[in-house]
C-alpha cells in the first residue's frame, strides 16, 4: 500500500499539511487543474496512468492508493 506516499503527494499539491488517509481531495480545494498534477505525479512515482474519472471515484489517499495498487504494471 502507498497510502503514506499519496498523503505526501496530496499535501504537496494542496499545500496543506493536514491531510490524512481519509481526506477528500476535491473537498479540500482540489480542482481539476490540481487533480491533473496529482495524476502526473502518480504516473511519475508509481508508473501508473490513471484517468481523471478514476480519481473522482477514489478521491482520498486511502482509496487512491488502492486504485494505484489494483492496476497491473
Amino acid at each position: 500500500m502507498n497510502v503514506d506516499g499519496v498523503i505526501a503527494l496530496f499535501r504537496r499539491v494542496l499545500d496543506n499539511p493536514e491531510i490524512d488517509a481519509e481526506s477528500d481531495f476535491f473537498g479540500l480545494g482540489g480542482d481539476s487543474l490540481l487533480a491533473t498534477r496529482v495524476l502526473s505525479a502518480v504516473a511519475r512515482e508509481y508508473g501508473v496512468e490513471l484517468t481523471f474519472d478514476d480519481f473522482l471515484l477514489a478521491p482520498t489517499p486511502a482509496t487512491l492508493a488502492k486504485t494505484i495498487a489494483s492496476v497491473p504494471r
Binding site: 480542482d31 481539476s32 487533480a35 498534477r37 502526473s40 504516473a43
Partner: protein, 446 residues
C-alpha cells in the same frame, strides 16, 4: 502642483483620485467618449448589465476590493453548478465538472512544466529571471513544440493561453507567459473560479468602478481628447490634444503600451514602450442573451470548451436577478484575429452554428453582442499587451521608470497582477505616490 493624467481607465482614475485627495490640481484626458478603458458595460435588458471587457476578481485582488468598498460596489459569486460541454476533435460531449475529455496525466505534466518555469520568475524584475534572455527569445509555440509530447497537451496549451491571457502561442514570449502566470498568483489561482481569480464579478458590472471614480472627479475628467504629443523641459511639461495644450508639472500616462508608444514625446523616450513584436491581447467577447438561463434546467453550467472556434469557451454570465440568461463566449488567441475580420452577419452565423452543437436545446438568442477588443482603437487589445520575443528584456526595465516629468501607469506597468484590474489599480496608487514624492510643492513656503 498640476498633473495631467492620460487615460480614464482604472489606472488613470485611481491615480487621479489619489492625487486629487492629496490636494493636487489634476486633469484627466480621455480619448474616448466614455471612461472605463478595458472595462465596459452592456445593458442586455432593462437594468441588467454584463461585462463586455474585464469582469472577474478574487479575494487576493485586495486593492480592487478596497476600491469597490470605497465607491459602494459589491460582488456576486460566479455560478458554476452543473455539467460542462466539450467539443474536441469534432466530438460533442457532456461531462460532470470542468475537466475536459483529454489525457489528465499529459495535462498534469504540462502544468508541472509551466509551474516549474513560473516559479523561477523574479517578480520584482522579470528581466533578471535566471536564463531570462533565452526564455524571452522563445515563443510559447516553440516551447510547446519542444516540451509537449502528448497530442492532448498540444491541443490544450493554446486554449489555456487564450483563456488565461488572451495570447496566441505563435507570437508571445515564453518569459511573458511565465511572468503573466506568476504575476496573477500562479496557474492554480489564475485558472480557478471558486477560490481563484474568477471567484466573483462586480454586481451591476465592472464599468461602474470607473464611472463612480470619474463621477467624484467631476469636471476634472475631459472626454474626447486623444493626446497626441507630450513635450517637457526643466520647468514644465505640455500635453497636446488636437486643439488644446495643457501645461503642467507632471504627466501620468495611463494607457496600454501600444497606445503610449503612439504618442509623440519631446525629448524622445530613452527606450520604446512597445516594439513591432508587442502584440495586442487577442480577445473578442461574444454575449448571447436568452429569456432565461435555459441550460441550467438541463443540468448544464453553461461552461464549454471547444478545440475549434469561434467560441473556444463559454460561461454563464447571467445577471444575478435572473431577468435574462446570458452566455458569454470567449474568442481568443489567433482565432480572435480571424473572427474580428469577419462581417457582423458572418460572426453571428458562425456563432449560432457552433451553439447549435454545444447547446442544441437553446432557442435563438434575443440579444447578440460582439465586443471586439482586438480592433478597439483606444485599447488595441485586451486583456493586456502581449509581449513578444525579446520584449521583456528590451521594454521591461523601463516600463515603470519615469521619463523626466512623464510617469507611467496601467496594468502592464505592474508586475503584481499584470493584465488584471488589480494590476491597473496597484499601478495607479504606485504612480500617484511616485508623483507626490518627486516634486517639491510649488507656491508654498514653510
Amino acid at each position: 502642483m498640476r498633473v495631467l493624467v492620460v487615460g480614464a481607465g482604472l489606472a488613470g482614475l485611481t491615480a487621479a483620485a489619489d492625487l486629487t485627495a492629496a490636494g493636487v490640481d489634476t486633469t484627466v484626458l480621455e480619448a474616448r467618449d466614455r471612461v472605463g478603458g478595458r472595462t465596459r458595460g452592456i445593458e442586455v435588458a432593462p437594468g441588467a448589465w454584463v461585462d463586455a471587457g474585464a469582469a472577474y476578481l478574487g479575494d487576493r485582488h485586495t486593492e480592487l476590493h478596497k476600491t469597490l468598498a470605497g465607491v459602494g460596489l459589491s460582488t456576486v459569486p460566479t455560478t458554476m453548478d452543473g455539467a460542462s460541454r466539450f467539443a474536441f476533435g469534432g466530438r460533442d460531449e457532456t461531462r460532470a465538472g470542468r475537466f475536459p475529455p483529454l489525457n489528465a496525466v499529459a495535462l498534469g505534466e504540462m502544468f508541472d512544466l509551466l509551474d516549474e518555469l513560473t516559479a523561477t520568475i523574479r517578480l520584482d524584475a522579470p528581466w533578471l529571471t535566471p536564463d531570462a534572455e533565452s526564455w524571452d527569445a522563445l515563443t510559447a509555440a516553440q516551447w510547446a513544440e519542444r516540451h509537449l509530447r502528448h497530442p492532448d497537451a498540444r491541443t490544450f496549451f493554446p486554449l489555456f493561453l487564450g483563456e488565461m491571457m488572451a495570447a496566441d502561442p505563435a507570437t508571445v514570449s515564453m518569459l511573458h507567459v511565465a511572468l503573466y502566470l506568476r504575476s496573477g498568483g500562479g496557474i492554480g489561482y489564475l485558472n480557478a473560479f471558486e477560490g481563484g481569480a474568477q471567484q466573483d464579478r462586480i454586481r451591476g458590472g465592472a464599468h461602474q468602478v470607473c464611472e463612480r471614480l470619474a463621477g467624484r472627479l467631476g469636471a476634472r475628467v475631459r472626454l474626447n481628447r486623444p493626446v497626441r504629443a507630450i513635450q517637457q523641459n526643466v520647468r514644465a511639461a505640455t500635453v497636446h490634444t488636437d486643439g488644446e495644450q495643457f501645461r503642467c508639472d507632471a504627466v501620468v500616462v495611463a494607457v496600454p503600451p501600444l497606445l503610449a508608444e503612439a504618442i509623440d514625446y519631446q525629448p524622445v523616450l530613452p527606450a520604446p514602450r512597445a516594439t513591432d513584436l508587442t502584440g495586442r491581447g487577442c480577445a473578442v467577447k461574444v454575449q448571447l442573451v436568452y429569456p432565461a438561463p435555459h441550460w441550467r434546467a438541463d443540468g448544464l453550467s453553461g461552461w464549454s470548451v471547444s478545440s475549434t472556434g469561434p467560441l473556444l469557451s463559454t460561461v454563464d454570465d447571467s445577471p444575478p436577478d435572473g431577468a435574462v440568461g446570458v452566455l458569454t463566449g470567449f474568442v481568443t488567441g489567433a482565432e480572435a484575429y480571424r473572427f474580428a475580420a469577419l462581417s457582423a452577419p458572418e460572426q453571428r452565423a458562425e456563432t449560432l452554428r457552433q451553439l447549435a452543437h454545444l447547446f442544441p436545446r437553446l432557442p435563438l438568442p434575443i440579444g447578440f453582442h460582439v465586443s471586439d477588443w482586438v480592433s478597439e482603437q483606444y485599447s488595441r487589445g485586451c486583456y493586456a499587451a502581449v509581449f513578444g520575443p525579446h520584449d521583456w528584456l528590451r521594454l521591461g526595465p523601463r516600463l515603470s521608470t519615469a521619463h523626466g516629468r512623464v510617469h507611467w501607469a496601467g496594468t502592464e506597468t505592474s508586475t503584481e497582477y499584470f493584465g488584471l484590474m488589480e494590476g491597473a489599480i496597484r499601478s495607479g496608487h504606485r504612480v500617484a505616490l511616485e508623483v507626490l514624492s518627486s516634486y517639491e510643492p510649488v507656491g508654498r513656503t514653510r
